[in-house]
């Protein structure tokens, strides 16, 4: 569904993405993890066309994304820190995005309802707390029923109840056969969600493995332990 072919991205002298190659398929819930500054957000932004790599290509459903923008209709993005114009209300933001998307498909209002967004439609974006802004971002990401969901640190900043609502939503979307890409530092949260793991370091993919396989190979039950054991094995 998404193929990343040897992309290279440099910010000044810093090599952020070093010939990254990936194949991401439908029906998978993939966790993208790695130490701070390893290139996770840059990789995601490259897929979204917000960052333009110097070399390499990215394909969405076998079509190159260069100079294309329509493929983003199929992607729902939830940024780590949602940036919205401060003076408009939640209702206006949602209307604006609806207008841009112009989608005939049925809207997925589950998060909208579960987060009770309809009660705060009149609040200005500038007055919202960080967590509430995240809820708006989550609602928007899922609203148009996209085939692909890209979630950057989705549960960071959400209260435990809201985080649980989001996790359940992710699981139900996964079961519908969608591709979900999540970056997160909270490995424990990912335990019930993910089917594949990508570990990055210094702009390179260290491994891309199926979670069950990884657990079996390392004999560990928890993802965090499995990763550390696997890394220790590969280093030695």
């Amino acid at each position: 569904m998404i193929e990343v072919k040897k992309i290279v991205k440099k910010f000044g002298k810093l090599l952020t993405l070093d010939e990254v190659c990936l194949q991401l398929n439908k029906g998978e819930c993939i966790a993208l993890i790695g130490p701070n500054g390893c290139g996770k957000t840059t990789l995601i932004k490259s897929i979204l066309g917000m960052v333009l790599p110097e070399q390499g290509e990215i394909f969405f459903n076998h079509k190159t994304i260069k100079k294309d923008f329509t493929y983003r209709e199929k992607i729902g993005y939830m940024p780590q820190i949602g940036r919205y114009p401060q003076h408009i209300t939640i209702g206006q933001v949602i209307q604006m995005i609806k207008g841009i998307r112009n989608s005939d498909a049925e809207m997925d209002e589950e998060l909208f309802n579960k987060y009770q967004i309809n009660k705060i439609l009149d609040k200005r974006m500038g007055t919202l707390s960080g967590g509430t802004t995240q809820k708006v971002s989550a609602t928007l990401a899922f609203l148009f029923n996209p085939d692909v969901l890209i979630l950057d640190e989705p549960t960071a900043g959400l209260d435990p109840l809201s985080a649980e609502i989001l996790k359940e939503k992710i699981i139900s979307e996964k079961e519908k056969g969608k591709l979900i890409l999540i970056t997160s530092h909270l490995l424990s949260e990912l335990d019930d969600l993910v089917t594949q793991l990508i570990f990055m370091q210094e702009g390179k993919i260290i491994f891309h493995k199926n979670v069950e396989l990884l657990k079996a190979e390392t004999g560990e039950n928890k993802i965090s332990k499995a990763i550390t054991t696997f890394l220790k094995k590969t280093i030695n």
């Binding site: 917000m50 333009l52 401060q86």
Partner: protein, 239 residues
């Protein structure tokens, strides 16, 4: 903010006409006032607006919208509001006090100058990530076009006054949209006689239909080039 701008322009226009006995003098005063304030407000307001819209731009970039559309719609929004304010503030007194031909030229100039400096604002904002530097650049460019350029031209004129530099002078004016518009208007006002020999040369070139057309095209170029370059930069920017 825009309301204040409209009121300011309106105030300046009405006083320009009421302070002078005849409408020609009023027009001249107004010309100089417009060539000073419209660029400043257009470039400053636009630069600040673009920087303040960075969050909106980020939001739009993750949507299925081409970058070109985002940049263009920002430009149109700003241009339309600023031009409208100008028309409301200066257009009405102009049409009341001055002859239609001259008023139309002045209005046209106001619109062109607004668009040119909005375009320049887009260029400043895309070239500098830092808001303070971008605003500084815009103000600097305004100072350059409003004052420095004329100072440099006058200096050169004096230095080379012994040489036949008139044709070059005409060419140099192309480098400043403010001067181009000023000359375009002055030709209309028919006071080029006051400018002496240089005036005659200018009249020879700019007074003709061909000269006028060329001037107009140059002013349009001043709108198109900065904006197109800023669009190119925006299309290749990482966000």
């Amino acid at each position: 903010m825009l309301v204040l701008y409209t009121l300011l322009i309106a105030l300046l226009s009405w006083t320009s006409f009421n302070l002078e006995d005849n409408s020609s003098k009023g027009l001249l005063t107004l010309l100089n006032v417009i060539l000073l304030t419209v660029p400043l407000v257009s470039v400053l307001f636009s630069t600040i607006y673009i920087y303040n819209s960075s969050e909106f731009i980020e939001l739009m970039l993750s949507q299925p919208v081409p970058r070109k559309t985002i940049w263009f719609s920002l430009f149109s929004g700003l241009s339309v509001s600023l031009v409208f304010s100008f028309l409301l503030g200066a257009g009405i007194p102009l049409l009341i006090y001055a002859e239609t031909e001259k008023a139309t030229m002045m209005i046209l100039i106001g619109i062109l100058i607004t668009l040119i400096f909005v375009s320049i604002a887009f260029l400043s904002s895309i070239l500098f990530r830092d808001k303070a530097k971008g605003i500084g650049m815009s103000v600097l460019l305004w100072l350059y076009f409003a004052f420095l350029f004329d100072g440099i031209v006058l200096f050169l004129m004096f230095q080379f006054s012994d040489y036949p530099i008139e044709k070059i002078m005409v060419a140099i004016t192309a480098l400043s949209p403010v001067d181009l518009s000023r000359i375009m208007m002055l030709m209309q006002l028919d006071i080029s006689a006051m400018m002496g020999y240089t005036g005659a040369i200018f009249k020879d070139f700019f007074g003709t239909g061909f000269g006028l057309l060329l001037t107009f095209l140059l002013l349009v170029a001043w709108i198109v080039f900065p904006f197109t370059f800023s669009l190119f930069k925006f299309n290749h920017k990482d966000l």
